[in-house]
């Protein structure tokens, strides 16, 4: 639910990183925070457990400058990926404008990626939103693990399993090294802003 403030000429947009547990959602945000530290005035907010897992969400506000004379403030959130935290995931999705689905490319994660994507569809539906109509980008993360000999799903397989029906933009990435992290963020901002523009017409 983007908010347009006509007085301050400001738009606030909410983008949520979704995906299975330990998939790299928080790592994406940490990389963005590190990279744009000079432009982000506040600390990144994280609510995590003692075991360093996301408990509620991470939050990173981010000014991207002006679009058509409006200051655009992007609010990046992650959800907790663990299955048991479904209620908190649903809360974080409230009012979402755009979603990055961070899939874990390890072969063993095949099932969990699919379940998480279905869970996203279900939770969006609870806000009467369709996954097919919400701005969405897929990120196939952990591609760097191939160098360590860890079996990964091929991009073709990931596309078939996750993007067969959705047909949204996708990128391979390595959040830990920063490969394609910023590009993914740019993709989702672009698609979300285009969709908002369409709505505001």
């Amino acid at each position: 639910m983007a908010f347009v403030n006509l007085k301050k000429k400001e738009v606030q947009v909410k983008i949520v990183y979704y995906g299975p547990g330990r998939g790299g959602k928080t790592t994406n945000l940490e990389y963005i925070y590190k990279k744009f530290n000079h432009r982000i005035k506040t600390e990144m907010v994280t609510i995590k457990t003692h075991g360093d897992r996301t408990l509620f969400f991470d939050f990173l506000p981010f000014d991207i400058g002006k679009i058509k004379n409006y200051d655009v403030k992007i609010q990046l959130y992650t959800v907790p990926g663990q299955v048991k935290y479904d209620a908190t995931r649903r809360l974080v999705l409230r009012g979402v404008d755009g979603i990055v689905f961070v899939a874990d490319a390890m072969s063993v994660m095949r099932e969990k990626n699919i379940l998480s994507l279905k869970n996203l569809q279900k939770n969006l539906a609870s806000y009467k939103k369709s996954i097919f109509k919400t701005p969405l980008v897929l990120q196939y993360n952990k591609m760097d693990l191939a160098d360590q000999g860890i079996p990964l799903l091929s991009v073709e397989a990931l596309e078939r399993q996750l993007n067969g029906q959705l047909k949204v933009p996708s990128r391979v990435a390595s959040a830990i090294n920063g490969t394609n992290v910023i590009e993914t963020m740019k993709d989702i901002i672009k698609i979300t802003m285009a969709s908002l523009k369409e709505e505001l017409k």
Partner: protein
């Protein structure tokens, strides 16, 4: 889904926050939506709180408490208040989608603040429903 508030509506909301709440001597007051966006804010210039993070956390916190209420069979908890040593936070729901957050110190009485917040909320509801 997008929603827009115009200059006039925002001016009226800011005036309500100023006269009904801020003049009680609170440190900071802001109206946010449940997605964590800030609609209007006013502070005394001395507090340097990061209100964008506060707004995100307040919306999440309020959502979590509302879910807890439902689990135990309550529609909602009418009072949500965190007491600190120097500063405290008071939350009140405005319609289904908005939240009024007030940060105040020991010099402000909670009872009076609640009373004034109720008055302000009635007025803000009218503006938001226009």
């Amino acid at each position: 889904m997008t929603y827009t508030l115009g200059q006039e509506q925002l001016d009226t909301i800011e005036e309500i926050l100023e006269k009904d709440i801020f003049d009680l001597g609170v440190h900071c007051v802001f109206l946010i939506d449940m997605a964590g966006n800030i609609i209007a804010d006013r502070d005394n210039g001395r507090v340097k709180h990061d209100i964008y993070s506060l707004a995100a956390l307040a919306a999440g916190n309020f959502g979590a408490v509302s879910s807890m209420a439902k689990i135990i069979g309550e529609e909602e908890f009418s009072l949500l208040f965190h007491k600190g040593e120097k500063e405290s936070i008071h939350f009140s729901k405005v319609l289904d989608d908005f939240l009024l957050v007030i940060i105040f110190g020991g010099a402000t009485s909670l009872g009076f603040l609640r009373l004034k917040a109720e008055e302000a909320i009635t007025k803000i509801k009218k503006v938001l429903q226009e």
